[in-house]
């Protein structure tokens, strides 16, 4: 792990000097801002039962589906397309360090983007001057959920990027993986055919991995170690497959 920080600082530096980072950040914040103002407008019309933070994080999947593939599609596919992976791997650097460095940089950017949306709540708080709207519980829970689930989502994006040398393919693949993980589990959990008694264990499993349910738990302040374990193990698995993906491509290149 000697080179991890060299690689990480290099990646962060590359992100900071790249205009696409700033464009992506701006678009993300613009979009989240629209959602946020939309929520506030609803609140101004009628009284709501839950806090704005709670509603805000219900929309987490939308930016995830689009931002994560955009952030991660480049990381390994680009290296392979340019051939710089060859110069990189002929230094005393291991594939693991390369993949982890790229992953960590993408994750940091993802978390930073989400952290920036904290500004919305701050503005709301300053504007309203009343802690009534700012419910600390769902807010902290929501951000914690984003941080923890981000580990897994970014790892999936890195995995997609490790499988191809074409960025567009990596982005589409990442998008499909995320839709399957977020939307697919939700769909399965809601489908009626799993309600039969014989399929009970399957139903339980699907319920356990349902990401939208995790979000509800986190914003309600319930932090279940089983859910943490789900994201952590998913992350580790996706990263191991990414490393294997890079190495397998070398073997058969």
């Amino acid at each position: 792990m000697k080179h991890f920080f060299t690689l990480l600082s290099h990646e962060i530096r590359m992100l900071l000097v790249s205009p696409s980072t700033y464009v992506a950040t701006m678009l993300f914040l613009l979009f989240m801002g629209f959602i946020f103002t939309g929520i506030l407008e609803n609140y101004s019309k009628t009284a709501q039962e839950v806090s704005p933070a709670n509603v805000f994080f219900q929309f987490f999947w939308f930016p995830v589906l689009f931002m994560v593939p955009l952030l991660t599609m480049k990381c390994l596919a680009e290296e392979r397309r340019l051939g710089t992976i060859e110069t990189l791997l002929t230094t005393p650097v291991t594939t693991t360090e390369v993949v982890l460095g790229k992953y960590a940089a993408a994750y940091l950017l993802y978390v930073t983007l989400w952290a920036a949306t904290g500004g919305f709540f701050y503005i709301l708080y300053k504007f309203v001057g009343d802690a009534h709207f700012i419910d600390a519980g769902p807010l902290v829970g929501g951000y914690l959920f984003v941080a923890v689930s981000g580990l897994f989502f970014i790892a999936l994006g890195v995995l997609a990027s490790s499988l191809t040398r074409n960025q567009a393919v990596a982005a589409v693949l990442g998008f499909v993986l995320l839709v399957a993980v977020i939307g697919g589990t939700n769909y399965l959990a809601n489908s009626a055919w799993l309600d039969r008694d014989a399929l009970r264990p399957m139903k339980d499993t699907v319920e356990y991995v349902r990401i939208l349910a995790h979000r509800d738990d986190f914003t309600r302040g319930v932090i279940d170690t089983r859910q943490l374990l789900f994201y952590l193990s998913g992350t580790v698995l996706a990263l191991i497959f990414s490393i294997l993906g890079v190495e397998a491509k070398l073997l058969h290149s």
Partner: protein, 328 residues
């Protein structure tokens, strides 16, 4: 262990999906030697180089760099090599000095020594003017030199360069050649190239491979003698050509007339003579011909270029291969 060879390759085989790219290559390179690696496209040059760097695993065989096996200690080997791949891939959006700094850190050069070392290689490769330029905006010649600077950055004992002079203008080729020559004795260098005079001028030894096999190796002079097996003289003379062959036989029995041109306006023919003798026959030839009443306008010994050797060697290996096919 100064007596272990810098690179020792024994019975190296690499096959892709059943097709052998490299079949049973063996060679050694002594420390401080510069080896030129020649072969037509698809001969297995790049594959061999990638295996030497530990980037690709070999199917079978053994590669030792400075006495360390590439397969069992890839990390140790990677600390001892500088590698510049084919087409010299570089990140587009970094500055030259930033890139060298990053690579230096990856190659485990101490931070304290890295700054002066970067200045040194920038100076060596004549890159000082562009040190703050973005790599993606540099011309091909500069990019190529950035690649070379990067490969010698950590002062590794072994340097492997895949076509380092491709796309350079003659002036830049000269710089690169001097640069590689300046490494002689200190570092072991393997370069592959299509530009044969290039190889001839810089390399101590040449290895020609074709279709995954070594077809010839040795110094350029040895190769000439071994592969071509004869020397050629070119002369222009006037006189009776019919009486020439017996006269030639008195100089050297194997001397033959292989080509002759029409008589020109002044009555002279251009002739090509070949002989199996390797030493110089110019003087006896000149004496005999003038004594025999011929008028001689010019006499020169043709120096076969490495190109001729290369063509002859690769052709020979194709002939051998097609014979094998016919037999089986």
């Amino acid at each position: 262990m100064p007596d272990t060879p810098a690179i020792a390759v024994t019975h190296l085989v690499k096959s892709y999906a059943g097709v052998a790219a490299v079949s049973d290559i063996s060679f050694t390179v002594a420390r401080g030697e510069i080896l030129g690696f020649l072969g037509p496209n698809g001969a297995g040059k790049s594959t061999t180089m990638r295996i030497l760097t530990g980037y690709l695993p070999a199917t079978s065989g053994n590669v030792n760099i400075c006495g360390i096996s590439v397969a069992s200690h890839p990390d140790e080997v990677k600390r001892r090599i500088g590698y510049m791949p084919e087409n010299n891939p570089l990140p587009e959006d970094m500055r030259v000095s930033e890139y060298l700094y990053f690579r230096g850190r990856l190659k485990e050069i101490q931070r304290r020594k890295l700054g002066p070392r970067i200045d040194e290689v920038l100076e060596l490769c004549d890159l000082k003017r562009v040190r703050h330029k973005i790599i993606g905006k540099l011309s091909k010649g500069f990019r190529q030199r950035v690649g070379i600077a990067e490969s010698i950055l950590a002062e590794p004992p072994v340097i492997i360069m895949d076509e380092p002079t491709i796309g350079l203008d003659p002036h830049q080729i000269l710089i690169v050649r001097d640069l590689i020559a300046s490494l002689r004795g200190r570092m072991t260098v393997i370069i592959s190239s299509h530009i044969l005079p290039e190889i001839e001028m810089t390399c101590d030894r040449v290895l020609i491979i074709n279709q995954g096999r070594v077809v010839a190796q040795g110094t350029p002079t040895d190769l000439r003698r071994e592969i071509l097996g004869h020397s050629t003289y070119q002369l222009e003379l006037a006189g009776d050509l019919a009486a020439l062959p017996p006269l030639l036989a008195t100089v050297e029995p194997t001397l033959r007339l292989t080509a002759q041109s029409e008589t020109d306006a002044a009555g002279f023919h251009s002739l090509t003579l070949t002989t199996e003798r390797a030493d110089e026959l110019g003087e006896p030839l000149l004496r005999t011909l003038t004594a025999g009443g011929y008028r001689l306008r010019s006499l020169s010994r043709a120096h076969p270029t490495l190109e001729d050797v290369f063509l002859a060697a690769t052709r020979r290996s194709w002939d051998v291969k097609s014979e094998d096919i016919r037999k089986s």
